[in-house]
Amino acid sequence: MRRSKSSLLAVAVSIGLAASACSSTKHTTDSSGGSSTASSAGGSSTGAQTYKQGGTLTISNEQGQTWPCSFNPYNSTFNLESLGFIYEPLIYTNILQDAKETPMLASSYQWNADKTKITFTIRDGVKWSDGQPLTADDVAYTYNLMKQTPALDNYSLWSAAGLTDVTATGNQVSMTFKQNAQVYFYTFATLVGIIPKHIWSTGDAAAHPDTWTDPNPIGSGPYTVKCTPNNMEYTANPNFWQPGKPYVSKLEYPAYLDNGPANQDLASGKAQWGSQFITGIKSFYLSKSSDNHTWSPPVLNVAVIPNLDPSHKATSQLGVRQAIAYAIDKAKVSAIGEDGQQPPGNQTGVVTPTFDKYNDAAAIAAAGFDKPDMTKAAQALATAGYSPSNPLNLTIISIQGYTDWDASIAIIKDELKPLGINITESSLTNQTYYDKLYKGDFDLAYGSQPSAGPSPYTELRAWLHSANTAPIGQSASAGNFERYKNSAVDSLLDQYATASSADQQVSVIKQVTTHVLQDLPFIPVTESADWFQYNTKNFGGWPTADNPYAQPAAYNYPDNEQVLLHLYYKPAQ
């Protein structure tokens, strides 16, 4: 007994000693390369204020795994780590500011009249991080490699988008398409990162561009990277083409395996840029310091998804869907279920305030979906033959561990119960949930589309176009999970793709949403937001509701680059 006690004590003492002897330990935040504060802050082209370089920013963005340390921009699994930091797009498009464009590697572009050919002028004086100049050849190479190796063509530019030719002449790159390609602009100009030909045309990269891990990436972006599984360390790229930028010399990007520690680091101020849901954000985060802020702009809908296939007798009836849509108090779900962090949705499916331009508030009010209405709900349910005395039992599927969804569904359940609709929640593992959702094996599902585009078109097309659906039992993974088919809506959506003016696009979207209000193919409850928390003690320049210059969450690429080009370290000024 004595012995075991003393040996335990010895261990404890040695731990204590080791922990207290940190003096000779190198910390990643130690100033070494990052202290070159006296930078020649040459006037930026935008004429905005310039800052001195310095500081180390820590990003807290839980990914649930250690870093794979691969930066191949064609492997979309790693885009989070490589795009924006290392590799840059031709043009940045901001979803939050009505698709406002910022020229990046292309200084300008020109469409032909019927928008089947686009010519980019590549910016002069851009260098790769190894000092070589970036040319139009590199840009053309980036796109042509996708044709050569179809596994690289993530966005199906050479197939679905109808790209037929990419050629470089002088400092210009022209891309030719089979048809009007304006709806693909966001994809090929904003989501694709440009790669250096001189690196990718030799060695392993040339042999297997699809499986190459690109462990030491050479890019044109504001940072270079050094990676260990636990932490990625980004250092300002001295060759970056915007003089004096980025202002923040170093970024630490630790791998968080769980929300818990990621949120802890934000609350304690150890990390300054947060990108995940924080439960009880007021007491857990905002109250910890007056420098802690949050702003989570909405980009997508979280909806109750009814199964419209005739084999699902209840949910395929309009009356049942109307009853659900009239009864749910969206404001209450938003306030209680989502802690106020996701705004209530609206029945048209147009996310506001992000896409306000396309929103038809008058139509929503006319259809009676501007506020919950239990009388209308009861009437609608009666037309389908259900009532409190003849109740309808439905199961709603959701994802295990999404506690905010559980809370939201609990409120929906309470609201539908007095009408005569009994909801049972079935929490499934991720894999099972998506299997059922895609194959149409559900009555009701709670869920959302995975990504937004520069206008509501992207999300609405995913939900509504019949090309995105499949018979029950087959995978409708492109977004039309509810199995909605309406040829009028299809042709409207197709019209949008060739619309000649912004006004025409708005009018098309408004017509589409009239159908949504009529048919209720999905019932938006809240709007899913870009989770964003930020600390202003040492860092300034964050995107805010007043200046939404980019989507703020660290997981948005290439928006992350815009944020990084605005941030600066206050103590160095």
Partner: protein
């Protein structure tokens, strides 16, 4: 010799059966790597393209299952484990395992040895002073703690010992703000981060060793040669450790060989609770993202480790105890 051949034969047969199960079980799970990749690409990539991408990394869902099975068997044997199809798409499985293995070996390995040594010592003392303070308190306490599931103990420790993550960290393997290396700060940080998961494993696994050691010891203490030793006037300490404990230790040792085999499985729940990036955590992630190559390789390693430990245990027993060599 015949006995040895039979043991080896049995080992190979079991290994084959286990490997076959390891191949088919993951394939019966709902979901597919495509779902994982679709989520990671934010749904912007079409299904056909996702399949194209996965194919370039060696995913062949439409290949004949028998063909796949034989390829798998061959690959497992030759060490050609492929690349991850899950959340670390394209990263070689051997690299992922190489990164996780030291953490599991360090945490679970050291804790297993520590639990074994401490448990045996406590058991020895408890049996020697039967009815004493140690004997009446510790074994009963340890019976209770070893009956508690890992995750309950883990969660309680987090609840009581981590105050806002400032005292003992409840997640991760070291402070990422420290540059890894042989510096006192880094080693201190590794120990600090390992403290809670190690304590959890220790609390839940020590009880078994205490009980078996105590029981063996009591049987041994009744032997004539112990009485002989005492009669000769040997010191208590010498009788306890050199005469009794040494013999009582043998059955425990074979149990220990087996538990070493289980080290590799890395207490999955403990690693998950404490977000400790070891093999257990990797397995959890692989299952979540339907990463077939990763799952298959991990299962194979676990199987080989356990069966290998059993085989070695058998062989050592044969060498130690002549009776096992008889016809049996």
């Amino acid at each position: 010799m015949r006995y040895l051949l039979r043991r080896v034969g049995f080992f190979l047969l079991t290994l084959w059966a286990a490997l076959t199960l390891n191949f088919f079980l993951p394939h019966f799970m709902p979901g597919s790597p495509i779902n994982t990749l679709r989520a990671q690409t934010k749904g912007r990539v079409s299904d056909a393209q996702l399949t194209e991408i996965l194919t370039s990394f060696g995913y062949k869902p439409h290949e004949n299952i028998v063909q796949q099975y034989f390829n798998y068997l061959g690959n497992m044997v030759t060490g050609n484990w492929g690349v991850s199809l899950g959340s670390s798409l394209g990263t070689p499985v051997s690299k992922l395992i190489g990164e996780a293995l030291p953490w599991t070996l360090g945490l679970v390995g050291i804790t297993t040895v520590l639990a074994f040594l401490l448990g045996s010592l406590v058991g020895t003392i408890a049996a020697w002073r039967r009815g004493g303070v140690v004997d009446s308190v510790l074994p009963s306490v340890f019976v209770v703690t070893s009956a508690l599931p890992y995750f309950v103990v883990g969660l309680f420790l987090i609840l009581f010992l981590t105050v806002d993550n400032t005292w003992l960290p409840s997640s991760g393997n070291y402070d990422t703000s420290i540059v890894p290396g042989f510096s006192p700060g880094f080693i201190g940080s590794v120990l600090k981060y390992a403290a809670l998961p190690a304590l959890t494993l220790l609390i839940t696994s020590i009880g078994g060793w205490v009980l078996t050691m105590r029981n063996n010891m009591i049987t041994t203490l009744a032997e004539d040669y112990i009485r002989m030793g005492r009669a000769k006037g040997l010191s208590d300490r010498k009788v306890m450790l050199n005469y009794a404990a040494r013999n009582a230790f043998l059955p425990n040792l074979s149990g220990f060989a087996m538990s070493i085999g289980f080290v590799l499985t890395g207490a999955i729940l403990v690693e998950k609770i404490f977000n400790y990036p070891g093999l257990g955590y990797q397995l959890y992630n692989a299952v979540q993202s339907i990463d077939y190559p990763m799952m298959q390789t991990l299962f194979m390693l676990f199987t080989v480790a356990v069966l290998g430990a059993l085989l070695i245990c058998d062989l050592v027993t044969v060498w130690l105890d002549p009776r096992t060599r008889a016809k049996g």
